[in-house]
């Protein structure tokens, strides 16, 4: 818990210092590139490449709770994290293209890593289907129809393994693995370059003050006590 408090303090601090940037930018008369001002298409206009409608509804509802909109920065939905996850699952990552996927699968130490024959696509499909079934059985509604507090509880139960996939005839996949993958991919979609679909308009980067793909800070090494005045730039050249 203490690390969470530190994180919040850091977030507040960074947010505080970052509010300086728009003021500087406006004052200096720099016109930000037109790209940054353009609105990306709304999330509701996105048609998923991998998820079906039911799964997509789950992903939206889950991401919305993992990084909610009410925080200091954009929420996962505003940052288009679900787009990132969908595109990753549609690509090499989702298909585990270059992973060793043969057995043997041995239960035991977590050091051994995941021990099942599922690609990330299959993990999501099975994990979502099982969670939806559990929600129907327990709450009489699908996950995305639950209120925020109940969704948080479900996610927490997944994380702690309180929801028992094995008891629902799932041979391999533990609920905690499904959750940790989802959480990790959500983080990645939040902070990965916008070229991969998430981190829309670099909102998350702006929140933490990450300068993006400029790749050159040599000239700042000996500028002490000077605030770094530049907003981020993405791989595609978008400036924020």
């Amino acid at each position: 818990m203490s690390s969470r408090i530190q994180n919040r303090q850091r977030r507040d601090f960074i947010r505080g210092s970052l509010t300086m940037i728009p003021a500087i930018t406006l004052g200096s008369g720099v016109t930000l590139t037109a790209q940054a001002a353009e609105q990306a298409p709304a999330l509701s206009d996105y048609s998923p490449l991998f998820f079906n409608d039911d799964e997509w509804a789950f992903i939206l509802a889950a991401c919305d709770r993992l990084i909610p909109s009410q925080g200091n920065g954009p929420g996962a939905l505003e940052a288009h994290v679900p787009v990132f996850i969908d595109r990753q699952l549609d690509g090499d990552y989702g298909h585990a293209t270059d992973w060793y996927m043969e057995g043997p699968f041995v239960a035991g130490s977590p050091d051994l890593g995941f021990q099942y024959p599922y690609t990330p696509r299959e993990v999501y499909q099975r994990g979502i289907a099982l969670t939806q079934r559990w929600c129907q059985q327990t709450h009489g509604a699908s996950f995305d129809a639950l209120d925020a507090q109940t969704r948080d509880q479900v996610l927490s139960d997944l994380e702690k393994g309180n929801i028992d996939f094995a008891a629902m005839d799932e041979e391999w996949l533990p609920a905690a693995d499904f959750f940790s993958g989802l959480l990790q991919n959500t983080h990645e979609g939040y902070f990965a370059d916008p070229i991969y679909g998430g981190n829309r308009h670099m909102g998350p980067w702006k929140m933490v003050g990450f300068p993006g793909a400029r790749g050159s800070f040599r000239d700042w090494v000996d500028q002490h006590d000077v605030e770094y005045p530049l907003g981020p730039v993405s791989l595609s050249g978008e400036r924020g």
Binding site: D45, I195, R214, S216, P229, R239
Partner: protein, 459 residues
């Protein structure tokens, strides 16, 4: 194997042996020397089509009069020069005469090759007859429009502008300078690109008796800079040492710059194969040519280079062009515009950035660039192209900044100019947009239910 076959094989070996004996005079050493001279003359550059066999011809060379196609110079008897005598070969190289007596178009640098010695012509002949595999390939015929299709008309041009003598060493110069002059004026035909041309497309000077010789030219909108290296000045060849020149010709990179444009292939195919001794002779010769007024119209240090750097370092009150530089260029070329030797060329004082014609710079920003791979420096370091990432306006802004930042004093670049270069971009660009750039495609609702694109999902 039966007896009959055995006899045939033996007969074959006998013929081979006879062939070998008869060519004993033209030994491997001569062939090897001819191969080296063919490198020095960069014959392969023009006489090879893209993806074609070496020396089999067919490359289209753009000229102000139309496209001139290079010929097959392999020893194939039907489509190449296998039937040519050494005299006919020498006449083609030095006088621009085909074996049938017709004139060659002066895309062939015979006004330069006229300087090549008899001994070297012989070695080249032996190489092309015995060291090159015959390739049967009939390249496209050159057909220019009237009056340029009248090859006899070239005789007058030859009489006026060609017909130089075989190189004679000058007594008042060292042996080394004479060797350098022989290579530069002769097989190297450096003047073909680096000497300005007159109204008849003739090189204004074919040797160092003329001040225009190697004083720089605009080659298909790309600067071929002055090679005259003697004198003072902040930029250009006068700042290069002999070592710099040798290193550049051997590897395409040195302390000061990195090769770009047409010269990239010249280094890869020709100069990087030359001996250190010959390259040094070339360097000494170039450093002996006084830089003249026009070639040295370079700028004096203005102190402006420090201002540019300080402004970029502070990163406040940036113009959009400065911001573009920081976001796209400074990671490699740095805020002082000095890059890193042999890896990232310096932009401050860069000849291409300061050229009257900005096309070369615009092209480099849009398409990127690639260094040649040579024996001494095999790595093909690549600058990515920015065509996919920057608009015409942005490239114009950025190019103007590069041409006017630091101590550079180039002219302004307009979006129209960028647009023209973009339209003519070679398909071979050194980088393209990553496949995953969001183009909005997946945001367009697909027609149908979309199940067809994800078959494994509904199992």
């Amino acid at each position: 194997m039966n007896r009959k076959e055995m006899m045939a094989v033996l007969a074959g070996i006998g013929t081979l042996m006879m062939a070998t004996t008869s060519s004993a005079a033209d030994n491997d050493e001569t062939i090897e020397r001819g191969a080296y001279l063919a490198r020095a003359g960069d014959c392969v550059a023009c006489h090879t089509a893209p993806d074609g066999e070496d020396f089999a011809g067919g490359l289209g060379i753009e000229s102000p009069f139309g496209t001139i196609y290079s010929t097959n110079i392999t020893p194939d008897k039907k489509t190449g020069i296998g039937d040519w005598s050494e005299e006919e070969f020498a006449a083609a190289l030095r006088d621009g005469k085909r074996a049938d007596g017709a004139n060659l178009y002066p895309a062939m640098p015979y006004p330069s090759y006229a300087r090549v010695s008899d001994e070297d012509i012989h070695a080249l002949y032996v190489y092309f007859m015995k060291g090159v595999e015959p390739v049967q390939h009939q390249p496209e015929e050159t057909s220019l429009s009237f009056p340029f299709n009248q090859r006899w008309g070239i005789s007058a041009w030859n009489w006026l502008f060609a017909g130089g003598e075989v190189f004679e060493p000058k007594a008042d110069r060292s042996e080394q300078i004479n060797r350098g002059a022989y290579l530069v004026e002769g097989l190297g035909h450096c003047g073909s690109c680096h000497t300005p041309r007159g109204i008849f497309q003739q090189e204004k000077a074919l040797d160092d008796s003329g001040d225009d010789y190697l004083s720089g030219a605009d080659l298909n909108d790309w600067l071929a800079p002055s090679l005259r290296g003697k004198g003072d000045g902040p930029h250009g060849m006068v700042t290069w040492s002999e070592d710099d020149i040798v290193e550049y010709l051997a590897t395409g990179r040195n302390e000061r710059n990195v090769v770009s444009g047409e010269m990239t292939d010249v280094i890869e195919n020709s100069t990087s194969h030359m001996s250190e001794e010959d390259l040094r002779a070339i360097a000494v010769y170039l450093k002996s040519l006084p830089a003249n007024e026009s070639s040295n119209a370079d700028v004096a240090q203005t102190g402006e280079e420090d201002n540019t750097r300080a402004h970029l370092d502070a990163a406040k009150d940036l113009s959009s062009a400065e911001r573009l530089y920081l976001d796209n260029c400074s990671a490699c070329h740095f805020n002082d515009g000095m890059g890193a030797p042999r890896v990232f060329p310096a932009l401050d004082g860069n000849s291409l950035a300061n050229a009257d014609n900005p096309t070369g710079l615009i092209h480099t920003i849009l398409a990127g660039a690639e260094m040649p791979s040579t024996e001494k420096m095999p790595s093909k370091l690549v600058m990515p192209g920015f065509a996919w990432r920057l608009s015409d306006e942005e490239v114009a802004d950025l190019a103007t900044f590069v041409r006017q930042g630091w101590s550079n004093q180039g002219g302004k670049v307009t979006a129209d100019e960028v647009s023209r270069v973009r339209d003519e971009l070679h398909e071979r660009s050194f980088s393209t947009a990553p496949a995953s750039v969001i183009d909005g495609e997946e945001f367009k609702k697909r027609s149908g239910d979309g199940n067809g694109t994800r078959p494994e999902h509904n199992q």
